[in-house]
């Protein structure tokens, strides 16, 4: 049942909507429009001349092997972050859902990382894993394991995956915990009486009932890994060594801000925008229809 409020005239509803519309307009539609406009232009680095080039920027980006590399790298990075953040959060939520002493303190602690800004989180991880000054970095090297993410691309990727996933675990944890708590206790008891052991109960009853939550979180995590991890990468590796940790979003920044290749950078962000719109649409479609029980 939808509740509809009927207004007389246009003035009041418009006034009520205006703040939201203005914010969305200024901070999303205007810059997004600028990016779309820019993506059809080629401009010199000093902004003295510009030229309309149609889809040439897009064609260049899509045929650039280094961009395609970044695309695969981003895919790997995002999948890893989402998988790690989701599985760790699910494990922690299942543990927190049990009747344990100090569960509330434990839950509060788990939620804290979400309140930490990405750049600060990155600095935290830097202090832990810097090869010279980091606690664990020195320990690893001391144990004879060569650890230097500034030289080793795989190690750098591992580090940004860990740091990014760590930040997202809290968010997933809250949703999983809420999902777990909404499963009626008697359903689990019925399964126990039916003869299901805890592991079986989890995979045949708990997990299927959590799947709508899990799917929603998967999309949110992918979007996060695509776009919100800029701060982490920038503070930890700046996309290096070489291009080992250069994801699509970081490349937009490098090409646009560092190399001042505005047309290409704009085209890349438009492609990213299309990607996220597609992801969001998939999510709405599925949440509305498929993943229902």
């Amino acid at each position: 049942m939808e509740k509809k409020v009927i207004f007389k005239g246009w003035a009041l509803p418009l006034a009520l909507l205006l703040p939201q519309l203005v914010i969305t307009g200024i901070f999303f539609f205007w810059p997004a429009g600028q990016a779309v406009y820019q993506s059809f232009l080629r401009e010199d680095a000093f902004g003295l001349s510009r030229q309309f080039v149609g889809f040439e920027n897009f064609a260049d980006v899509l045929s650039d092997p280094t961009w395609l590399d970044a695309l695969w790298r981003t895919g790997f990075f995002s999948a890893s972050v989402a998988f790690l953040a989701l599985s760790v959060a699910l494990f922690l939520a299942v543990q927190a859902d049990k009747h344990i002493r100090g569960a509330n303190a434990y839950k509060t602690l788990l939620i804290w990382p979400y309140a930490v800004a990405p750049a600060i989180a990155a600095v935290l991880w830097l202090f832990m894993f810097h090869p010279n000054i980091g606690l664990f970095g020195r320990m690893l090297n001391g144990m004879g394991i060569p650890w230097n993410y500034k030289l080793n691309g795989d190690q750098a990727m591992l580090l940004i995956i860990l740091a990014s996933a760590w930040k997202q675990v809290s968010y997933n944890f809250i949703f999983f915990l809420a999902g777990l708590q909404s499963i009626p206790r008697s359903v689990l008891e019925a399964a126990a009486i039916d003869g299901a052991r805890p592991a079986r109960r989890f995979w045949t009853v708990v997990f299927p009932l959590l799947s709508p939550t899990a799917f929603f979180l998967l999309v949110v995590n992918l979007v996060y890994a695509f776009f919100d991890t800029f701060g982490v990468i920038h503070a930890l590796t700046q996309g290096g060594p070489g291009k080992a940790t250069e994801t699509l979003i970081y490349r937009v920044y490098t090409d646009g801000v560092m190399n001042l290749n505005l047309g290409s950078s704009a085209a890349q962000s438009v492609i990213l925008m299309i990607l996220v719109i597609a992801l969001t649409m998939v999510q709405f479609r599925f949440i509305e229809r498929k993943v229902h029980y």
């Binding site: 019925a190 399964a191 009486i193 079986r200």
Partner: protein, 357 residues
């Protein structure tokens, strides 16, 4: 199918003692109804039998085997929950087949058993549906079916009818009784509804504040309640209680309200002259007449063939009478107490006082 025995089962949640030592012997194929007001420990007792709660002390023995340390999965019992507790993401078929699949039965056996149970319960047409597509009564049947297909040693029912509307409840009540008799499975049924208890049980366990106040057949409990709690709980409208003292060498009671002396029909009671008693008389046993109690009737509830009259004695004590016919008026009324229907209890302990042999 099996016997069940509870030996001195106690349960405490922290400092709160919920069960104070319950003993119970259930014969093979018997239907036992555990009845009591909310908070009396009846559900806790059932959950201890199921293995969902651990008893603080005492033993649970199913079919001669001590199952006290076993998990619910290893006890071979089936339970029907108040809110049905169906698996919301599974079809009716899968809900019923779940326990059988875990036991690794062959696919054809599972399909046959589910089909048989579904036909027995009249839900064979619903096997493909999800629980959310079912009505309350249908869900109740699926929950029953899930218990039946398992062919367990013991059925446990935790107030399974309280979420149904009145008409369906009466229908399902009869159906459960028929099924239980036909399948012959030993059953425990928890309810707070005394009508359900009276109609369903071979024997009742009336629970009061963590004690089994009385364990007996429904008629025995109705005719010879063990204490004033049981007497007041079973029967509707509830039994009337009147304070009295023992007199005439233990052969009669003197009512405190008007000094009326009521000789016992079945023999003398033990005790000193003047021992304090509580006399009980069921509303349906009171008869209109002079020389008994003088009531001031305040409310008449006509039920068709009979009427419930709510009144007060001169000292303000409430009395309920259930009299035949619908033509009764508010105002003064005399009722007599048939001596053969008198229940005698000790006023201090509330325990029944039987006639000396």
């Amino acid at each position: 199918m099996a016997t069940l025995a509870l030996e001195d089962v106690k349960k405490a949640f922290g400092a709160t003692q919920v069960l104070h030592g319950v003993d119970l012997e259930v014969a093979d194929g018997e239907m036992i109804v555990i009845v009591g007001a909310s908070g009396c420990g009846k559900s806790t007792l059932l959950r201890i039998v199921a293995g969902l709660e651990t008893a603080t002390s005492g033993r649970v023995i199913i079919g001669g085997q001590d199952v006290t340390p076993l998990e619910p999965a290893d006890r071979d019992v089936a339970m029907v929950f108040q809110n049905y507790a169906l698996y919301p993401h599974m079809s009716v078929f899968d809900n019923m087949a779940y326990g059988l699949r875990i036991r690794g039965l062959p696919r054809e056996v599972i399909a046959r058993r589910v089909q048989e149970a579904a036909e027995l319960l009249g839900i064979a047409a619903l096997l493909e549906r999800k629980p959310r597509q079912l009505s309350g009564g249908q869900r109740q049947r699926v929950a029953m079916g899930r218990a039946i297909v398992r062919e367990p040693k013991l059925f446990l029912f935790d107030e399974p009818l309280s979420n149904l509307d009145a008409k369906l409840r009466v229908q399902m009540r009869a159906e459960i009784r028929r099924l239980q008799k036909r399948l012959g499975v030993t059953s425990l049924f928890v309810t707070h509804d005394q009508v359900e208890a009276m109609t369903l049980g071979d024997r009742l366990v009336v629970m009061h504040q963590g004690h089994a106040a009385q364990i007996a057949t429904p008629m025995e409990i109705w005719e010879r309640p063990a204490d004033t709690y049981v007497a007041g709980f079973i029967g509707s409208p509830a039994m009337n209680f009147l304070p009295a003292t023992l007199t005439a060498g233990g052969t009669a009671a003197r009512l405190e309200t008007n000094g009326l002396v009521l000789p016992f029909a079945d023999g003398p009671r033990a005790g000193e002259e003047g021992r304090r008693l509580t006399l009980g008389i069921r509303p349906e046993h009171l008869r209109p007449g002079i020389g008994g109690l003088d009531l001031q009737v305040e409310l008449v509830e006509p039920l068709g063939g009979e009427s419930v009259l709510h009144g007060r004695l001169a000292d303000g004590a409430p009395i309920t009478a259930k009299l035949p016919g619908a033509l009764h008026a508010e105002g003064p009324l005399g009722v007599i107490i048939p001596l053969e229907h008198l229940h005698v209890f000790d006023a201090e302990t509330g325990k029944r006082l039987d006639a000396q042999a």
